[in-house]
Every structure is written in C-alpha cells, then in structure tokens.
Symmetry: C2
C-alpha cells in the first residue's frame, strides 16, 4: 500500500491528532538503507500507525559539510516504504521547516560538545531542534532510532526527558552490510578500496571486545590498539572513546555495558561506528 | 470548588492526556493578583478545563535578582483559584522541573537580546524553556498570558510558531490598580512614596498617546518626553522603546498599532509597562 505523502506541518499535525491508536515515528534524512527499514519494521510491529519523515535537515550540517552532495532518491524511498506499509511519509520543504524569520533553537548542553560535537559543534543543536519540531507536529508515542548514531540517541533521550516530551525513544541495533560495515547513506562516497579499508572500524571494535574477554580492561591500551588498526587501514582517527552508555562519561576501564565509540575519516568520508561491550 | 492539586509532571501529563474537551492553561509564578485572575476568567469562559501552574522559575532569574525574596503565598493562591473554579493547579517542586543532570534549553534568538533581554540576558531562555516544558506536560489548546510582559508574549509566540507547538497563545489586556499602576507581584516591594512615583510609567504612556493624537509622530521626541516624566518621578530609565508589535523592531515614527514599552527602576524595583498606540 502506498503511504500517504504529507508536505505541510499543519496537515501533518491535523492528521496526527486524529489518529486513534499509537503512533510510531521514524525520522530520516532519506536515501533509505536497511538500517532505516529495520526501524520501520519494528515500528510497524509495535505501533498502530507508522509515520516516516524524510528531511535533509540543513541545520545539522556545518557550512563546510556535505549538505549539497548528501544523497537523495525520494522515488526509491517512497517505493521502499510502500513495500513496508508505512502509513504516512512526512516530506516537508526546507522553507516549511525553517520559514523566513525562524529564530528558535533547542540545545542540550555538555554531552553535545564531546565526541562528534567536537568536530561538529552545531550539529546536535540542529538535530535536537528538528526532532523537537517533528515530535510536536507528529506527537508520536514512540520514536525509533538506530544505535549507529549513539551520541545522537543519548542526546535526544536527554532532550525528551528534560523537556517532558511524552514520546518514548526506542534505540535499535546497528544494521550492517554482509561484510560488517555499519550501514550509512555516506558509504556511497567510498571508492572500492576505501570501502575495504572502512571495514577496520568494526574490526577494531570486535578486537576490543576480544581484549575485554581476555580481561584487558585498561581503556588507554584498547584505544591505542583501535587507533593502530584504523591507521593501518589509511583511516584518520577523529576520536576513539570508551564511555558510560547513559552519561557518555569517559571510562578509564572497560566494564560490561559500556560503549566504545569511534569516528574516523576514510578517504574524504567521516564514518562512525560503536559497540556495546558485553 | 477546590481545584485538584498536582505536584508531579508525570501525574499532570497523565491527567491532561485523559481530558476530553479543550484545555486552557495559565502559567504563573504565584502570588496571584487581578492580572492573573483575569486570565483564569477568560480561560474558564473559552475552554472546558482550566489548568493553572504555579512555579517560581529559578532559570528566569539572574543570580543578582530577587528569586529568594520573590513573594509567595500558596494558600491564598489556592483560595483565589478555588473561587474562580480553576480545575487543576500544577504545583511542581524545583527538583521536579530541573532534576539533577538537567541539560536542555530552548532559546529564541535576537528578540530576546533587546529590551528586557539587555539587562536580563538569560531571562527569556529561562521563560521559553519552562513554558516549553509546561506545554509538553499540559498539552493545552490555549495558553493565556497578560500583555504586561509584552516582550515575553512576542517571544513565546515566536517559540510556539518555530517549534510547531499546537498551543495557541492568547494575549490579554493589562490589568491595572484603580490609580493606573499595572498589576505586578513586584509592586509590593514599593514604599508608599515609591508606589506614588511608579504611576509615572502609565502616565508617560498616556502622554505618548496624547502626543500621537496631536500628530507628533517622531519616536525620539516622544521617548525624550517619557524619559523626562519618569526621571522627574525619581525613576531610573532602563529602556523606552517604540516598536512594531509583531517583530519588536524599532520604529522611527509612531504608527497605529505600534507599542511603546518602558522599563524603569523605582526605588530598587524594576517595573515595566506598555501601551498600544491606537
């Protein structure tokens, strides 16, 4: 069944308020891959009506980032969402989301300035603002997000808690290509060789889990090993951090349930990945 | 009928979501006067269920301001709201609103940095944040606010529009004492003489309207006259501004529908007032 396309915030808000039953919401920037689709499938299973938004949000890109080249294929996105029986696709224009004279920003402090926030200082402000807007428009019971952008998940959970949104955020597992590369719309930027080199991200995280199993707990030791593996594959490390899964606070020693987060530049593409240590 | 007192956000959100019919919301910092009560009366007339919040919001006070001395009289407030048949009073603690680890702020740019924002640079960030929280908790159809804090009204309307809150903000006329002083919880700080001197605020605004009627349109001329009148009454001018009622942009000439906003310190108390030129 083809989802209903909705282009304006007013129309979407009106529809949402008239829905009986629970609403599951999947926010995306389009160019959907199996990661996104896995979220839609969970939402279909757990809620009555599924709304997917497709909006390449300019405010989460810095001027020097890839907003213009960010891949787009709306027709394909709609076809994929039809196959999954998503009920609504919210597809606003940039001017609909940020009209002339727009002035309001939602900012989560501290946890947005570390990790990805160091190299992308205004990124999370863009994310939290657009998600606050989308939640007000769609009023979902549940919002589904991948764990690949793990910091984003933690930041948005903090926002939802702090601002008393009624929506519950559900984090879903990272979906990977057959060879282990975490799915990302940006993977398409990679050359054949870059694509191969990019596998070092997950490999380094699996190595960390192996070291933990061998009772190596010192964060610095493990971070050094991860860095070696990434650099040996022509990656440039942006950060490697071992953190508490709830606060994102640095841990000097690994413990069960902590997260290792990595960001590295392969060729010209910044990729991220992470693992929960179990 | 005694209103139902609600102390936690979870409880209030649950109640709000179960209300059939429209919700009218009046946010206050308590110590209610006729200005607040006029809002409750309008809300009772226009909506099915009226929720009044009482919360002295610390984040809208600067460290050097009067948070600790800000007047409080909850028993009296409850009695007054009972007489008006308000349905619910939301009365959260500070820790309920800003629990440990609180990190999220809603900020409206530009129009919060002029007028009252100049001498109170973090004030509006506190206001917008707490109102965003209250709107998420109470999910009102209408929110009623006095026009006395005119900049606050414009800032909150901007936030509601920008963040796609479904709530409609209704601005209501300034309520005055018999002698014309705009009602404010801070009027109680004034001595008998200060109370008399404070009348210069409204007098100066009425003088401006008179000048406009006499076809004096030059803002600078009128601002100078207002300043004289305030200073002659031992007031210290914080600002006198003639602005567009929607954008708060400075106007070089008065026009029908513009606003004149004044802030002045009388004794140690900062008072504000404004008038729409008609």
């Amino acid at each position: 069944m083809k989802p209903i396309l909705v282009k304006t915030a007013n129309e979407m808000a009106k529809i949402s308020r008239e829905i009986k039953g629970t609403i599951g919401f999947v926010p995306t920037m389009g160019y959907l891959h199996e990661g996104h689709l896995s979220l839609v499938r969970v939402a279909k299973k757990e809620t009555d009506v599924v709304v997917v938004s497709i909006f390449v949000n300019p405010s989460q890109f810095s001027p020097n980032e890839d907003l213009d080249e960010y891949p787009r294929d709306i027709d394909r996105d709609i076809r994929l969402l039809s196959e999954l029986n998503a009920n609504y696709i919210f597809l606003p224009t940039e001017n609909e989301v940020y009209p002339d004279g727009y002035k309001t920003w939602v900012n989560v402090e501290k946890i947005t300035q570390i990790l990805c926030g160091k190299s992308r200082p205004t990124h999370f402000r863009g994310v939290t603002t657009v998600v606050a807007k989308l939640m007000n428009i769609i009023d979902p019971d549940f919002m589904y997000m991948g764990e690949k952008d793990f910091q984003q998940l933690v930041v948005l959970k903090q926002m939802v808690k702090d601002l008393n949104f009624r929506t519950k955020i559900i984090g879903c597992p990272i979906i990977r290509e057959n060879d282990g590369l975490a799915m990302s719309s940006r993977n398409k930027y990679l050359s054949k060789q870059g694509r191969k080199n990019a596998l070092c991200l997950q490999k380094s995280l699996l190595l960390a889990q192996k070291r933990y199993n061998e009772k190596v707990f010192t964060s610095n030791k493990i971070i050094a090993e991860i860095a070696d593996l990434i650099e040996n594959n022509k990656g440039v490390v942006d950060y490697i951090e071992i953190v508490d899964s709830y606060t994102l606070e640095h841990l000097y020693e690994l413990k069960k349930g902590c997260r290792i987060l990595v960001a590295a530049i392969i060729e010209n593409t910044r990729l991220i990945d992470n693992i929960e240590i179990t």
